[in-house]
């Protein structure tokens, strides 16, 4: 029987997307001061629904791959981008299962430009 393991949907606040879609409802949801000159911007959390027929544990990972201003001039540093948690391990997967929330974060510093940013996430799936 062929192995099935793929992303069914990515879900952001009730809206469902395909795995390579543009997620149109991601916003800054909250802000936390990290230091006098640094703030953590917490973006909209998302979940991932997976379709699988595997019986062994699987791991779902999310990485904040890149983020750059739409004009192309202001890339954010990789160390300022993160997703928490970075992965979930699903011990007993079954037909269709949805992960818990992943939350993307951005660190904004004193010189962070206020403008619109393009961002990309990478989702990986695999056996543990």
């Amino acid at each position: 029987m062929p192995e099935i393991l793929h992303i069914e949907k990515i879900i952001v606040e009730g809206t469902e997307y395909e795995k390579d879609d543009i997620l149109t409802n991601i916003d800054i949801k909250s802000v936390e001061p990290v230091s006098e000159t640094c703030y953590r911007l917490n973006l909209s959390p998302f979940t991932i629904r997976i379709h699988t027929n595997l019986a062994e544990p699987i791991q779902v990972s999310a990485k904040f791959e890149e983020c750059c201003s739409t004009c192309g001039r202001y890339p954010m540093k990789n160390e300022d981008l993160s997703v928490t948690p970075s992965s979930y391990t699903i011990q007993n997967p079954h037909d269709k299962i949805e992960t818990d929330f992943f939350t993307p974060h951005v660190l904004a510093h004193e010189g962070t430009v206020c403008t619109t940013y393009n961002a990309k996430l990478i989702i990986t799936l695999g056996r543990v």
């Binding site: 795995k19 409802n25 991601i26 973006l43 951005v106 004193e110 393009n118 961002a119 799936l125």
Partner: protein, 253 residues
């Protein structure tokens, strides 16, 4: 032989370490903008249901040594003015550290000219429209070919060197209809963005020639002793455009 190979393959697969596949590459767009200007009371937080920023931590942003405006970058006054005109921030340069004008290279074979000629046609054209002057008579600021989207504004904040008598501004852009693009120069008494700047409008809605040619050439005279900083702001109300700007700071008339 094939059976041996197949057996080996099965064994290796079973004992192999974690095998992950990159299976999704979703992307998204988000804005860092005027959320930081808001001072939320607890009742505001409870009532906030527009999907935007919420949470008690917002108030902390307006406090501290950097102040809310520093993260905002532009200064509240300018940002709010543009928001009222239904414009969102595009490329913002020079905040919080204003750009510093420089001396143009006297050597016409210098790498900067080769780079401009090869890669930045709008800036090349803007430079060609005026004679270049060198230090100590003039300094320059160059805004390289920049794309500005519909309903966006770009801002470049810079220092005005002491002794500046006037500014010569040359902008080359795609052609436009008279009211589709405006260019303003805001003169600041300081770099705190805390006070309203003086404004000079460099485009004239009645000036069809500038719109038809995409060329704006203006001289600005002011008592620059009172204005050590300025911001050059391009606002685009229509289709995406490309523009480049040469600002000459004249010390000797």
């Amino acid at each position: 032989m094939i059976k041996k190979f197949l057996t080996l393959f099965i064994i290796l697969t079973l004992i192999s370490p974690t095998v992950f596949a990159r299976v999704g590459e979703p992307s998204f767009v988000f804005a860092i903008d005027d959320y930081f200007q808001e001072t939320n009371t607890s009742s505001d937080r409870n009532n906030k249901n527009d999907g935007g920023l919420s949470g008690g931590a917002v108030t902390a942003i307006t406090l501290g040594s950097i102040g809310g405006a520093a993260l905002l970058g532009l200064g509240g006054w300018l940002y709010k003015r543009k928001a009222e005109q239904s414009l969102a921030a595009g490329c913002i340069q020079g905040t919080p550290n204003p750009l510093i004008p420089f001396c143009m290279e006297r050597d016409c074979n210098a790498a900067i000219y080769a780079r401009i000629n090869e890669n930045y046609p709008y800036l090349r054209k803007a430079l060609s429209l005026n004679e270049i002057h060198y230090c100590p008579d003039s300094k320059y600021l160059l805004i390289y070919d920049t794309t500005i989207d519909k309903r966006k504004f770009d801002s470049v904040k810079f220092e005005i060197p002491q002794g500046t008598k006037s500014l010569n501004i040359t902008q080359v852009s795609d052609t436009f209809k008279a009211k589709d693009m405006t260019v303003e120069l805001f003169l600041y008494k300081d770099n705190t963005n805390s006070s309203e700047p003086d404004m000079r409008e460099l485009t004239n809605p009645a000036d069809k020639k500038s719109a038809d040619t995409g060329i704006i050439m203006k001289s600005v005279n002011a008592d620059f002793k009172n204005y050590p900083y300025a911001a050059y702001v391009v606002s685009n109300y229509s289709d995406k455009k490309i523009y480049a700007v040469v600002i000459e700071f004249i010390f000797n008339n």
